[in-house]
Point group: C2
DNA sequence: ACGGTTACTTTCCAGATTGGAAAATAGCGT
DNA sequence: ACGCTATTTTCCAATCTGGAAAGTAACCGT
């Protein structure tokens, strides 16, 4: 098992999951989705950017400069690997206790 | 989404996943599986016991008193719910980016 | 019964995280 | 240049995780 500590924290998991579904998303959308403050979101995306998992791009939108976030290919595979590791854990549990898979 | 903070930390996730596959397990097995020190494992299981997720039982084995850990029904459902929440995240991502489901 | 040993448990402590508030900065329209 | 909006950084408190080491408990051999 290899859970990725950069992705594992709940807020990061939500960020990665959301970004995995789109090409990119606005800072505000992520902030609302994760429910964290702007300063906290800023720090999370910075942390993910520093390891090369996401790209922070500034682009004008509605007259204002908005920040767009997108997972990098590396970020996508890291998230994929993380999910795979989580599924492996869940699968083992499900194999032995079927009700776990259905959520008891 | 409702990730359970008592279960989410990597070590706890491993503990829960392992215990979900059996009726109970020995302290030593869990310590080896998780790779943490005895003091740390002791603290994790205590934390999980305090919220009612697992039961700590002492019983003689091989002449020595060993500690056996088992998930309670509550612990099993909490783990199940947690896994379900994680799968929901992964599923959303997989729906939009198929390669994520296969692990890129 | 006493001492050593095994098996945890608790205490002590350091370091890393996470989070929010507030101050600082950046880009734009006016 | 000024004000407003959108982040970003700084400051700080709280919580967490982890290991080492001391403490406790039960059992074996003598």
């Amino acid at each position: 098992m290899s859970l990725d500590s950069v992705i594992h924290p709940p807020a990061r998991l939500q960020i990665a999951a959301l970004l995995a579904t789109v090409t990119d998303a606005e800072f505000a959308l992520l902030r609302e989705t994760t429910g964290v403050s702007d300063s906290v979101l800023s720090k999370h995306i910075k942390a993910m950017e520093e390891v090369g998992y996401l790209r922070i791009r500034k682009a004008p939108a509605g007259g204002k400069t908005r920040t767009w976030l997108a997972l990098t290919p590396l970020g996508r595979s890291a998230f994929a690997a993380h999910v795979k590791a989580l599924q492996a854990l869940a699968a083992a549990a499900a194999a032995a206790a079927p009700e776990v898979a259905k959520a008891g």
